[in-house]
Symmetry: C2
Subunit: 236 residues, 2 copies
């Protein structure tokens, strides 16, 4: 590409470019974010959002960088992952003018337990209990939580927090936790049907004499990395 460098990119010092990720899950009905301990200064030993520099030699784009960082640093593969917002200023990092292309990711708690177990380097903290974080990571966390909560009100986003199969009551409980309100069962079910993202899963064989189990649901294949939106909010 040297031959296309007909003008030097800039006479100015270039900003540092990082990708930070707000990785969210639901544990015991609480929305939790993953923190990682910093292995180097600045903020050596403190807990921050998972993040890292863009590797211009191997990362195709920002999403690829986020995917790599989640996999190599947090041990998490193929979560629901989306760009959030970019935080870019002279003040957010002591090392100089810096850009964080922030992303957020959702992962079912059940997947995490299966993958990482006790060897995981992640510490999960209830988002509402996190009072401060190094850099501007609390602002990034807040923006992600606001985004997830507001999208919950008009979309299928929370399905990406569910285990492989679940009941509609369990899904409703997740919506209620994120929205911090109770929902009417009938209008919730009508909404989920309209969004068209879940389908009945084969139920496990009934145990003799047991009550008929609740119908289990699973994500439709087309919805596995997508979000369907409604034309009005669940809450008013």
């Amino acid at each position: 590409m040297a031959d296309s460098k007909t003008s030097p990119p800039t006479a100015y010092e270039q900003p540092i470019v990082t990708v930070d990720i707000v990785l969210l899950t639901l544990k015991e009905n609480e929305l939790c974010a993953a923190l990682l301990q910093r292995p180097r200064p600045p903020h050596l030993g403190e807990w921050t959002l998972p993040g890292g520099f863009v590797h211009t030699d191997t990362d195709e784009d920002a999403l690829a960088a986020a995917t790599r960082i989640l996999k190599t640093k947090a041990g998490v593969e193929s979560p629901y992952l989306e760009q959030l917002q970019t935080f870019a200023s002279r003040h957010r990092d002591s090392r100089g003018w810096s850009v964080s292309i922030a992303h957020y990711a959702l992962v079912p708690h059940q997947t995490l337990s299966a993958e990482g177990g006790d060897a995981s380097p992640l510490k999960w903290r209830a988002v509402d209990s996190i009072r401060s974080l190094p850099f501007d990571h609390r602002d990034i966390l807040r923006a992600a939580v606001d985004r997830v909560r507001s999208k919950t009100d008009y979309s299928s986003l929370p399905v990406h927090l569910m285990p492989p199969t679940f009941t509609l009551s369990e899904l409703q409980k997740v919506y209620e936790t994120l929205l911090d309100t109770e929902l009417d069962k009938r209008s919730f079910r009508r909404r989920i049907e309209e969004l068209d993202v879940v389908e009945p899963a084969p139920n496990p064989p009934a145990t003799r004499g047991a009550h008929r189990p609740a119908q289990m649901y699973r994500l439709k294949r087309k919805a596995s990395n997508a979000v369907a939106t409604a034309d009005r909010n669940l809450t008013r």
Copy 2:
């Protein structure tokens, strides 16, 4: 800040960091975007979105960079301005791995005519007529237009395209243009009232014998750089 450089930012080549802006206005009932002719390679002489490098010495943050670029390169001051999305990849710029922190801005056509006149370097093109642009600028344009149209459906965003005073019929026409659909007058007016962003403006003195003029409205002061959102869409 040298003393805080306890670790070198990175061993990797750093990406180029730019800010690009989709500047939109309504001209004769068409949504139009501003293009500028590139003064240097790559794409010398071609028309692109206004943009430029972050000036780490003078720009406080990305929004300040966008404001500076609009003012110095496009001659536009204090439009409604918001971050859109970041486009970051190895392929979007021939000069190397690059980041564009893309923004979008809305400006009333009347303001433009008053400010720039014929001396303006901007070329305005109807967004739907723009088939290709250098770099990935057509993708950025498309993302901005999609954002504006979808926000129009549930927010007060289009008020930032209006002149200082306007009638509710004129505002409805702007919504209808952006949504590409006709709206019911009564439900549109109820919506605007709910959003609480406009107020009656003093009408000019009536000309003797003329019909009573339509009530003029203006943006409320609190809404001058904000967007109010509704809990359901105007269209279904």
